[in-house]
């Protein structure tokens, strides 16, 4: 700190020789190079710094945690000190992926008020939930004797029981002799068997989901036809004949069903035939059908590029697969697809309405007090909490409109509601209503930015009003409209609260668009990335184990929303430069 230079405070200005003797006169302060209030400027800079640190820190947290989920971690085996009771069921060793090391919180003080020395503990992801009953384990550092990295440790992703971490012991294929775990044949054979199992699983799924599903659909359609014939108001004359035809068809279907079910049963039996016996890192011996294993890696043998490859594979699986095991395993494809379909439907609904209303307000309505009020009100509607729109959507779309549609067109399947319950159509309608003010406001701004000159030029050339709007005004304001639409999409994609009321579910068995006629099923419930986060984090049986999944999903949602918003901001900045509009 240099004490030399004078400042405001340090200028008591001692009497200088040429000061007049007037006591009321105070000499002017010496000119200072230190402007007043600089500390305050620094203080205000704190606000911006905190804001930036907050947002960048949060994004960094989400990205690092979200991506770390897919990066293979080494498997360690922990040797405990002699006589330690901290192992799993008294075992001297255990193992898993190291999650974190943390200082154990010591709050107790000794007699002098001094804290006890700090202690550290490790958290391990031990997996093998079926064997242990838990998947995370904390262990005191004092209890640990040594930590080794067994090279042949296998991390296997299983179909229904979650991840397993183990050392191989013996593979017992159905068709050939047993292969011990240390044989060079072991890994290639295991790979081959896992692949064969996956193929059989696909076939079973094909049979059960698609072929048997198709039969079931036809059977329930026949059932409805039969009900219509039996209980209908005026049965046609040929009712008995048609009933007989229905019965015959149902019998054929039943026979087909039996055949398919037998084939599925046979495949399932084959699935259980190859077995693998293994030892968990805590020494427990277990046997599992090989077909239970979906995929496996040997993380301790992977180099950087091997890990990178594994990372990409896992990420792709996360994007493309369906969730398993109460959403805690597998991928999130249905949630991505549901979010996509809902946002798309919402955009389709919101754009024409928003643009139409904006054109009316800006081009047709008489600019006066009324339009000003409407404009303020529309603006404020964007600030109304989303949950209020959800409440409206439930009351109006689901119960009133949906209920009426059911009464009119689906009365045969009542009391099971078809449209009278939440679904992707009502969800998009609700969100469209919620985001329509966003589109109106930004479209209006864009329309206002089109210069008077180009309008009048068009009119002067003899174009009609609509032609002017269609050919001159709308194209010029297209980027603005697009900005509004993107902002609306970003808001719609990230919103969860109203969806909880109008049709989002934790697990939808079918997608809103698929290969079954009529292909687009607007009445179906759907999955959503945002709700997936809520559900995994708060309603799953083990929120600690679900955390990686939640972070990964969060990463994806943030990526989507931030990209949309950045797009909107870029377009807007571009527009601003083009038109130099002061308010936006």
């Amino acid at each position: 700190m240099p004490p030399v230079a004078p400042t405001f405070a340090a200028s008591p200005a001692g009497p200088s020789p040429d000061t007049p003797k007037d006591p009321a006169y105070t000499p002017p302060p010496e000119p200072s190079f230190r402007p007043a209030g600089e500390s305050w400027v620094w203080f205000t800079s704190m606000g911006l710094a905190i804001g930036l640190v907050m947002i960048l820190g949060l994004l960094g947290l989400i990205i690092s945690n979200g991506l770390a989920v897919f990066w293979p971690k080494p498997v360690v085996q922990v040797q405990l000190v002699e006589g330690s009771q901290a192992g799993i069921r008294g075992s001297p060793t255990f193992g898993g992926e190291h999650v974190k090391t943390q200082e154990k919180r010591v709050t107790q003080l000794d007699e002098d008020g001094k804290p006890l020395p700090p202690a550290y503990e490790y958290q391990f992801y031990v997996a093998n939930r079926d064997a242990y009953g838990f998947s995370f384990k904390y262990i005191d550092r004092k209890e640990v004797l040594a930590i080794t990295h067994p090279a042949n440790a296998i991390v296997a992703e299983r179909f229904s029981l979650g991840t397993a971490i183990f050392l191989p012991r013996e593979l017992r294929p159905f068709e050939s002799a047993a292969i011990p775990g240390d044989s060079p044949e072991f890994i290639p054979t295991l790979e081959r068997l896992v692949q064969a199992g996956n193929e059989r699983r696909r076939e079973i799924r094909q049979i059960e989901r698609h072929q048997i599903g198709a039969i079931n659909r036809e059977l329930s359609r026949l059932h409805l036809q039969r009900r219509a014939l039996e209980h209908g108001p005026n049965p046609p004359a040929d009712a008995p004949a048609r009933l007989a035809a229905i019965d015959a068809r149902a019998a054929t279907l039943q026979a087909e069903f039996e055949g398919l079910a037998a084939r599925a049963r046979q495949l399932r039996e084959r699935q259980a035939a190859d077995t693998l016996s293994y030892v968990t890192l805590s020494g427990a011996e277990r046997v599992t059908p090989v077909a239970e294993i979906l995929d496996f890696t040997l993380p301790n043998q992977l180099g950087f590029f091997g890990k990178l490859r594994e990372f990409v594979v896992r990420f792709w699986k996360f994007l493309s697969e369906e969730p398993r095991a109460a959403n805690m395993e597998g991928g999130i494809f249905p949630a991505i697809f549901g979010t996509f379909v809902m946002t798309l439907l919402m955009s389709v609904a919101v754009t024409p309405f928003g643009v139409l209303a904006a054109i009316y307000l800006r081009e047709y309505a008489k600019q006066g007090l009324f339009v000003r009020c409407v404009r303020i009100a529309v603006n404020n509607l964007a600030g109304v909490p989303s949950i209020v729109f959800g409440v409206f959507g439930l009351g109006f779309f689901v119960y009133m409109v949906g209920g009426s549609i059911d009464q009119l067109f689906f009365s045969l399947s009542l009391p099971t509601p078809t449209f009278g319950t939440g679904g992707v159509l009502w969800a998009s309608a609700t969100l469209a209503l919620m985001t329509v003010p966003v589109v109106i406001v930004s479209t209006e701004e864009a329309l206002a930015a089109v210069s008077r000159g180009s309008r009048e030029g068009s009119l002067a050339c003899g174009a009609s009003k609509w032609q002017t709007i269609q050919r001159i005004v709308l194209p010029a304001s297209l980027p603005g409209i697009l900005t509004g639409l993107i902002l609306a999409m970003a808001r719609g994609a990230g919103e969860v609260a109203p969806l909880m009321l109008v049709g989002v579910v934790k697990l939808a068995p079918t997608l809103p668009i698929d290969g079954i006629p009529p292909f687009v099923h607007l009445e179906r419930k759907f999955m959503h990335l945002g709700f997936h986060i809520f559900d995994l984090g708060f309603q799953s049986p083990d929120s600690e184990a679900a955390k990686p999944m939640v972070f990964a999903t969060t990463f994806l949602l943030i990526l989507l929303v931030v990209c949309l918003n950045l797009g909107a901001i870029l377009i807007r900045n571009h527009l601003r430069k083009k038109y130099k509009v002061s308010t936006f």
């Binding site: 620094w42 606000g47 911006l48 905190i50 949060l58 804290p115 949950i387 409440v391 945002g530 308010t583």
Partner: protein, 763 residues
């Protein structure tokens, strides 16, 4: 076409017909379409209002049918749970069932034992559909009515009844006529109480009770037999008038002809007087009304002048037993109530006197309906589903009414006022919409929810406003314009973070961290502003050679590493501070521990929860900061350049210009930014749902949670039955939210427009 305006234009200049047609069509289409979209958007409010209005409607009652019964005296009036076959019991022991839906007319069924022993008194339990009848010779029997729906072969359904008397039990003084009876069955405990005429040789009116036990059979219930007899006469001072046995079968509440109430409670094998009180000390004399409301916790008493009060059992602070206390005052009746019937679905009851009847609701003390008939009411009963009412008049006509009152619990007072709920020691605001038992009293006060919304908003704003405003001032006044084009979008990205993500991070990431590090956060909050000032001071006093290293507009970049350093230091120093200041003796182990989580409840007496307002406030900051920042930054930037230039030219420093010139000019805009930020925080749903415990408490404690209006809707609406009271109440909550945010935003918008016009006049 002579009228065509284009007819005098040369053909080559004429506009094509299709163009005109399209133009006309589009004009109309846009006008109608645009207007209707705007109308549709505002119909949201109308729709929500339409869902709410039925809450505030009174009960609607209309007469469906009148049936003439025999000219006889009637002891009780009852009705089945489908409200199709009401009955009246004649004092000679004959049941009259009146089919009010079908065409069966009257059916009769007499009880032989009544003819044999004589009719003394009867008591009707509507929930169990059981009548207890006492005879003229000191015996009583339980008669099960056996109401059953019978499905006819051709479709359709009718209700039949088959009263079947159980065995006769002896009670009280053998052979003495029973003049009043009450019976309650609480499963293992059954209690019958009778009043008997005094003995012929004089003496008082006697009160006797017997408890019954049921031997457990292998299948179903076994034989019921008398377990123990009690003579309650000595316990009651004065002349016994009437008495009630609550459904728990553990007490007898006796009213004397002097207007005193004695609360007898069973303790082991004897009864003790637990409480004696006089509900109307100013008017002695027998009580006109003396009955329980459904649930048998609230006693409705009326005096001879027509006043009506409610006494509820509750545990007063410091008391050891639940005693009756005055909790309700109902609208006064024109005449003393002589007829009473309570609903077995909710807390409603009918009080009748002469030709007038009122339907009252106990929780809200509300009068749901009232009517003066052209007949005198002698008996009344409310249907089991609270959808029918039956009155019997003195001309022996049975009047069958439809009762349409879907939302009796709702009233303005129930939503916004304090109510004295059953079992509570004082009136309070409370939200608890569903409960475990049938006689649960829904508590629908929106006040704790509004309070929760305001609490969350308050803590969010406390955190967000300083940061957002400082950042806005810095960005608009001091930051280099080139950096601004980068910084502003980054801050705006913050606004786009989905609230479910913020909520998840708040609950599963932040809350566990904050829980153990509160002292660190205290340090952080004090050290960071201090470090900003200190850095500013240092820089001000640095030599110009040092100062040129940091050009104007780059201060924030220098501050970021300082911020991180100070933050890290504060984080690490927190436990030390904790050991210094927040030491407390752990009550469970007796050891001295330095733990803020224990220290806070011990010192302040308020709880410390992991998911608390601090966490919510911080995370809501992410949602609110960018809004306040963007709008106030706009307002500050739009202050005419001429003002700033003038100030700077006169020698003011950049801070003086910003603080004395720009800030006051833009104050309206900043205020409107705060309002819009407030609107966002009030309606925030997911963060609150996830990061608080969602308990509707009313305290400002920063280390406890809250339940906000929005979170409440999200949690309860998916489960609320369509068009039920809860459903509509949640819509009311949504309407309150809508109005609140809409008004706040409108105010902000008007302010902003004013500001804009003011700037225009300055320029």
């Amino acid at each position: 076409m002579p009228k065509d305006p284009q007819s005098d234009i040369p053909a080559r200049f004429r506009v094509a017909k299709t163009t005109l047609l399209v133009d006309r069509f589009m004009n109309q289409f846009i006008k109608i379409g645009g207007l209707s979209i705007i109308v549709a958007v505002f119909a949201i409010f109308v729709f929500i209002l339409a869902q709410v209005i039925p809450l505030f409607r009174d009960a609607k009652v209309e007469e469906l049918k009148a049936v003439q019964l025999d000219a006889a005296e009637y002891a009780i009036l009852g009705i089945d749970e489908w409200s199709e076959l009401p009955f009246a019991l004649r004092t000679d022991g004959e049941f009259l069932f009146a089919d009010v839906i079908g065409e069966r007319g009257l059916t009769r069924k007499s009880l032989p034992f009544v003819t044999e022993h004589g009719f003394g008194a009867a008591h009707y339990n509507q929930l169990a559909q059981r009548v207890a009848i006492g005879t003229r010779n000191g015996k009583f029997a339980l008669v099960d009515l056996h109401y059953r729906p019978v499905h006819a072969p051709g479709g359709g359904r009718s209700i039949t009844a088959d009263p079947r008397p159980g065995p006769l039990y002896d009670i009280g003084r053998p052979g003495a006529p029973i003049t009043h009876i009450a019976y309650a069955d609480a499963g293992a405990r059954k209690l019958a109480v009778v009043k008997q005429e005094p003995a012929e040789n004089g003496g008082p009116v006697e009160l006797h009770a017997v408890s019954l036990t049921q031997r457990r059979g292998l299948v179903g219930g076994g034989q019921i037999s008398v377990d123990r007899s009690f003579d309650l006469t000595p316990l009651v001072p004065g002349t016994i008038d009437r008495f009630l046995v609550p459904a728990q079968a553990d007490a007898v509440v006796v009213a004397t002809t002097e207007g005193e109430i004695i609360y007898l409670f069973r303790q082991g094998d004897r009864f003790v007087v637990r409480q004696t009180f006089r509900p109307f000390p100013e008017s002695p004399g027998p009580l006109s009304t003396f009955n329980f409301v459904f649930g048998d916790v609230t006693l409705v008493v009326g005096d001879q002048a027509g006043s009506l009060k409610g006494y509820s059992l509750y545990l007063a602070p410091g008391a050891e037993q639940r005693l009756f206390g005055h909790t309700k005052t109902f609208p006064a009746q024109k005449a003393p109530g002589t007829v009473f019937a309570n609903s077995v679905r909710n807390k409603a009851f009918v009080v009748g006197s002469g030709s007038h009847a009122d339907l009252l609701f106990s929780t809200t003390e509300d009068r749901r309906w009232g009517k003066s008939f052209d007949f005198a009411v002698t008996h009344a009963v409310i249907g089991g589903k609270y959808d029918r009412m039956v009155f019997l008049d003195d001309k022996h006509v049975l009047h069958f009414y439809r009762l349409d009152d879907p939302h009796p619990e709702a009233s303005f007072r129930a939503f916004f006022g304090k109510l004295w709920y059953e079992g509570s020691p004082a009136p309070r605001f409370d939200w608890q919409s569903t409960g475990g038992s049938d006689d649960f009293e829904p508590k629908l006060s929106l006040v704790p929810l509004i309070f929760g919304s305001l609490k969350g908003t308050f803590y969010a704003l406390v955190f967000a406003v300083p940061i957002a405003l400082l950042a806005a001032i810095y960005t608009s006044q001091f930051l280099k314009p080139e950096i601004k084009t980068v910084v502003k979008p980054v801050m705006e990205i913050m606004a786009s973070l989905p609230s479910v993500v913020l909520g998840f991070l708040a609950a599963l990431w932040l809350a566990p961290i904050v829980e153990t590090r509160v002292p660190s956060i205290l340090l952080l909050v004090t050290l960071v502003p201090f470090s900003a000032f200190a850095l500013g001071y240092l820089w001000t006093h640095a030599s110009p050679r040092v100062r040129v290293l940091i050009p104007h507009g780059w201060e924030f970049l220098v501050f970021i590493p300082v911020l991180l350093g100070v933050g890290y230091a504060a984080w690490q120093m927190g436990p030390a501070l904790e050991r210094l200041l927040f030491v407390v003796t752990d009550p469970s182990t007796g050891a001295r521990v330095a733990d803020f989580r224990l220290w806070w409840p011990t010192v302040t007496g308020t709880p410390f929860e992991q998911r608390n307002s601090l966490v919510v406030g911080f995370m809501m900051g992410f949602a609110v900061i960018p809004i306040i920042f963007t709008i106030s930054e706009d307002a500050l930037s739009n202050v005419p350049q001429s003002l700033r230039s003038g100030s700077l030219a006169l020698g003011a420093s950049r801070w003086q210009t910003a603080f004395r010139i720009v800030l006051p000019t833009a104050s309206a805009g900043i205020f409107s930014a705060l309002m819009i930020g407030l609107g966002r925080a009030v309606g925030e749903t997911m963060i609150v749902v996830m990061a608080t415990g969602n308990t509707p408490i009313m305290e400002w404690n920063i280390f406890s949670g809250m339940r906000t209006l929005a979170a409440n809707i999200a949690v309860e609406l998916p489960e609320a039955p369509h068009h039920g009271t809860l459903y509509r109440t949640l819509f009311l909550g949504a309407m309150v939210l809508f109005l609140l945010t809409f008004l706040v935003n409108t105010l902000a918008e008007i302010l902003r427009q004013r500001l804009r016009s003011r700037f225009r006049s300055v320029e």
